[in-house]
Symmetry: D2
Subunit: 206 residues, 4 copies
């Protein structure tokens, strides 16, 4: 295979990128000057050397001179370590952070559990979450786990699995498990709302 074809193939593995757009990326790179290509290749190298994964929450973070094995949020004493927000992936972290309403820490599951999945521990860091819950309860006084997953079937399946898995431990350790509130999302017109959302919105009225 020629390097252009191989490159198109690699790009078509990128999320949301089909064969056609992968080829456009290749032609885009060919038409750019060499500086761009060089910087792209060297930045990819740097990523391998300078990005670490937090030993508590599994988020990716950039290595700094402190050489801490923890991400800035897990290492920060101003973080409210008694509340742990469980998210599917790193991008979700940025979205939650932007809301400025969560002062606690995070935990990245690394995926979600498809309906009918036999072995969820292959898809998400369920065992790691249990271990970290135990550690955080002991070391940090963990009080609440917020399961913050998508409101679609796979997200809800994952939420159910986590609740079932964590509850015995949480009960024993006095940790509350909560989930994101359901209702009308911003911009929703009542006329086009589904029954499920409306039922939640009515029940959670306030």
């Amino acid at each position: 295979m020629s390097p252009t074809e191989r490159l198109a193939q690699l790009f078509s593995d990128f999320p949301g990128i089909g064969r056609r757009q992968a080829r456009r990326f290749v032609y885009f790179l060919l038409s750019k000057d060499r500086t761009f290509l060089k910087e792209l290749a060297s930045t990819l190298q740097n990523i391998q050397d300078e990005v670490l994964q937090c030993q508590h929450c599994y988020r990716f973070y950039t290595k700094d001179k402190s050489s801490s094995p923890l991400c800035p949020i897990c290492a920060d004493e101003h973080t409210d370590h008694t509340i742990m927000l469980v998210i599917e992936k790193d991008v979700d972290f940025e979205n939650i952070k932007k809301t400025d309403t969560h002062a606690g820490r995070y935990f990245v599951l690394g995926g979600s559990v498809p309906i009918l999945e036999q072995d969820p521990t292959k898809k998400i860091r369920a065992l790691e979450l249990i271990a970290e819950t135990k550690r955080a309860a002991k070391d940090d006084g963990l009080k609440e786990i917020i399961v913050a997953l998508s409101a679609n079937p796979e997200g809800e399946n994952t939420t159910q699995y986590l609740k079932k898995t964590l509850e015995p431990l949480a009960d024993k350790l006095g940790i509350k498990i909560s989930v994101l509130g359901r209702g009308l999302s911003t911009g929703t017109e009542l006329e086009y709302s589904d029954s499920d959302t409306l039922a939640h919105a009515l029940k959670n009225r306030g």
Copy 2:
């Protein structure tokens, strides 16, 4: 103007119908057999004679032999008359009804209040709502008003206006005013949620 042009003009007043589709409607009617056209015209006549507007909630309903000036829900003694759900328009009623989670009565505002509107009473039945609130408090023991409007700017503006308008009266009469819960709507993926919705979902977690 020819009758076909006039008909197209009338159809283009219909919600969501542009000039092009209005003309398609006309050609559709021309190509149908005369029976269809006749029944359409006569059903339009019937509507004028047989559909009434409820004197309590302003919903449209079909006249029956009881000749009640109230719609079936307002006339029904099994309805929970202590809870009144305020909606923008008749279609919203059907959506709420499908959820099977509201056992109370309704009130149709007949519109919403645009931002910067000088005289909201021209756009919605605000005065009628106050009168009906007084009557229902006295006659039916009204306890709660649920303002169930869209979560978009115009809906939220209307909700604010209603709260401000109703609160003095509601306080005096011991009526609670509530609004639909905000949060993730069904199907929402966390990654594509806006900050406002996420902030609500976090605050309303449970």
Copy 3:
């Protein structure tokens, strides 16, 4: 069934209108004042009385004082009666007319022939087209039939059927059968063109 339900049912037969929008139409009419409803009903009546179908081209047209059994274009001596443009439906006529590039007459098929249809004469005015071709050849010196149908599978199937059906007669009468040109339509970006369109555009280059 109540008149509102019946009306919603009739509207849901309209082209492109689902059950939900049909109900919105009903509520829209209920909320309009009675004048609108009355005029809509009476215009529907007028349509039945004042719209005729042309005996040559089958287009619908509004009756005028001339009481001609022909539409204004078929009755007009300035029309080029030697060229007949065959279209699927009345709306197509307006689109072609707007281009100002066809000075001839029309013929409305009234439908198209689905792939695998056993009896095309049930779907389109094929027999009427043959009769009209004979009449127009004799009376008006018809020289060309332009088959102006959609470039989708059903349109192309109809074109093939018409060509096969008309050719023996057209050959005998010295009438040319042509079809609309294929190639890039306005706004087409080369990068997103399908192979078939590009092949036509290359072949028809000029």
Copy 4:
């Protein structure tokens, strides 16, 4: 700036990629194993070394052992070198090739001329096209130049500019300049066609 932020910035320069998707790419790469990242970086290196630009048609092609300064099509004696198809960019080449209707050679403009552009030679290889036309007329007996650009305003502006620029030379050398045919593209429904397309389709009927 951290390497992850820098990488997201580089990706957001890619065609059709916004800031959000650029970040998703970064997280995608972080979650992949190191082999993928390594191969991506090394393939980017290879591209720099192994991809050349054809000296006749300006297409990119992969270097092979022949070390020809010409792309496989320009170097191939089975190519019809008397017909040159002018395209905007490399991707268009693949689309045309798939149609299997052009046996000739290509020329890549490298861009298009925006309306009101003062100096088109900065946007496209206009001077290179003139030089190559002279060379090909002399060496290869060039007979026809097919200008194969998009049917949108910028594409048509570029076509007009090329025609005006090439015509004196083409006339002198006996070279025909043609453009892609216009008309209904595959899948077009007559009802939704614009006037311009319909006018072309009628004029180019056959």
